[in-house]
Every structure is written in C-alpha cells, then in structure tokens.
C-alpha cells in the first residue's frame, strides 16, 4: 500500500512525458555503450573460464584427489532460482512498457529477492566446501574465483536493481523514457547467462 502511494506520487506530473530530441539521439548510443561494457565483462569471464578448463584438462585426472565433492542438487535448485529471476525481470520490464506500474514494482522486488536467495545458496555451498578447502588446489582456485566473481556481479546487480526501483519511485523514469530500466534488465540477463556457462563447466562437465 505504501509502495503504491509513493509510486503514484513519484510519477504524478509527467508519467507520459514525450521523449525530447536529445534523448532520442543518444538512446541508441547509450545502449551500445552498455553492450560494450557487457562484452568487456564477458572477456573477463572468458579468460578465467578458459584458464580453468586448460588447467583441468592438463592435470593428472579429474577430480583431483582430496577435492571436495560439489552438491549437484543444491546447485540445480540454486540455478533455477537465478534463471527464474531472469524471467521475473523480463516481466518487470514488459509491465513497465505496458504502463502497469504496480506490477512492475512487484516483479522487480521478486527479482531482487530471488537474487538474494541465489547468493544465500552460494554461501551455503561455500560453507560446505570450506571444510575441504585446504586440499582443493586448482579446483578450489578455479571454483572460488569464478563463482566468487559471478556472485559479486549478482550482488552488484541486486544493488543496481534496488537503485532502479528507488529511481522509479522518485519519478526518474517515465513510461516513454526508460533506457536505464532496459539496461538494468540486460545486465541481469547477462548475469544469468554467465551462470549457465559456470553451472555447466563445474557441475555438468
């Protein structure tokens, strides 16, 4: 109820304001700039992934002796939670496009909650694996570096989406000018897609 009143207060006055010329001219450039940032992030992840795969395939068998076993059931439910958050974020943006403000707010809050649940699942897995950390060697280095880096991206994504939600409540975006929300959705999908790769190489390969 409180969210509803703040939401409407934030948009009163200019919810359907038409985009100005500067916005229209720079929108595509801003999207392209953000995509370049995502490509650079992809290169970073790719470097670590290929380093891990190289070390894994040049070692003396896999898994190395003494390495802790990964929990596939926990990883599967955790993955589905993160993939589900991608779907909820997609719904959030679609509802904004269709000018359903409350539905947008509900979906983005659900996305944030699911992201936090994913991070909690990661922490549970870390706690389980910490026991075998001493003898994990390359496995531990690869696993914790990549999943830790991804977890940091999810954490940043949660903050990003929270800021976007607060900005919408303050009326920063209108139903015709919402590039920030589009870019936030792109970032969250990117984080999901990176997890598809990490899930595959650590738990399925």
């Amino acid at each position: 109820m409180a969210v509803a009143s703040v939401t409407h207060a934030g948009l009163v006055g200019r919810p359907y304001e038409e985009p100005d010329q500067l916005y229209l001219e720079t929108r595509e450039l801003r999207v392209q700039g953000f995509l370049l940032f995502m490509v650079s992030d992809l290169v970073l992840f790719s470097s670590f992934i290929f380093a891990y795969l190289y070390l894994r395939n040049t070692g003396q068998g896999w898994p190395p002796p003494g390495a802790p076993k990964l929990d596939l059931a926990l990883a599967a439910i955790n993955s589905v939670i993160l993939f589900g958050s991608g779907a909820t974020m997609h719904f959030a943006l679609e509802n904004w496009k269709h000018r359903h403000f409350m539905k947008f707010a509900n979906w983005i809050v659900l996305t944030i909650v699911l992201g936090a649940l994913f991070l909690s699942g990661q922490l549970i897995e870390y706690a389980k694996l910490a026991v075998g950390w001493g003898s994990s060697g390359i496995f531990g280095a690869g696993f914790f570096t990549l999943t830790g880096m991804h977890g940091f991206h999810v954490f940043c994504g949660i903050i990003y989406l929270t800021v976007l939600l607060l900005q919408t409540l303050q009326g920063k975006y209108t139903f015709t000018k919402y590039t920030g929300l589009t870019l936030g959705t792109l970032y969250w999908h990117f984080v999901d897609v990176i997890w598809v790769v990490l899930f595959s190489i650590f738990y399925l390969y």
């Binding site: 995509l35 076993k69 779907a87 496995f139 598809v196 738990y203 399925l204």
Partner: protein, 74 residues
C-alpha cells in the same frame, strides 16, 4: 544424518525439476512473444532468453541425474 541429507537433496531435486520446467516454458513463451521485435537491445534480449531456456533445460536434466559432472555428489 546421512538420511536427512539424502532427503534434503531429494526435496531440492524435486523443486529444481518443477521450477526448472516452469522457467523453461516461461522463457520459451517470452522468446516466442518477442520474436518479431526489432532493435539492437531486443535482439540481445532474444539471445539472452534463449540461453535462459537452455539453462533451465540443463537444470532439469541435472535434477533427474541425466547430466552430472565428474566431481559432483549425486
């Protein structure tokens, strides 16, 4: 203790299977609805949704033990 762990893992697998199927179909339907959309970011969205559906499909296979890596606890 081992029995409790096995039960927890069993419940996790069932949840992963059910939610995985839901997410897979939601992503597939969203992809179908967006299929004709134009613009750079919409093409990226379509790619992302396709990969999301693939991820959900892999999670479904993992939850029923069809796919499992070498160093995992089944």
């Amino acid at each position: 203790m081992a029995g409790i762990s096995a039960t927890v893992a069993h419940v996790e697998r069932i949840f992963a299977l059910v939610l995985g199927i839901v997410v897979f179909f939601v992503a597939a339907i969203a992809l179908k609805n967006d299929w004709n959309s134009k613009g750079l970011e919409n093409h990226v969205f379509k790619l992302m949704l396709a990969l999301l559906a693939l991820g959900a499909f892999l999670a479904i296979l993992a939850s029923v033990n069809v796919l499992a890596g070498k160093g995992v606890e089944i």
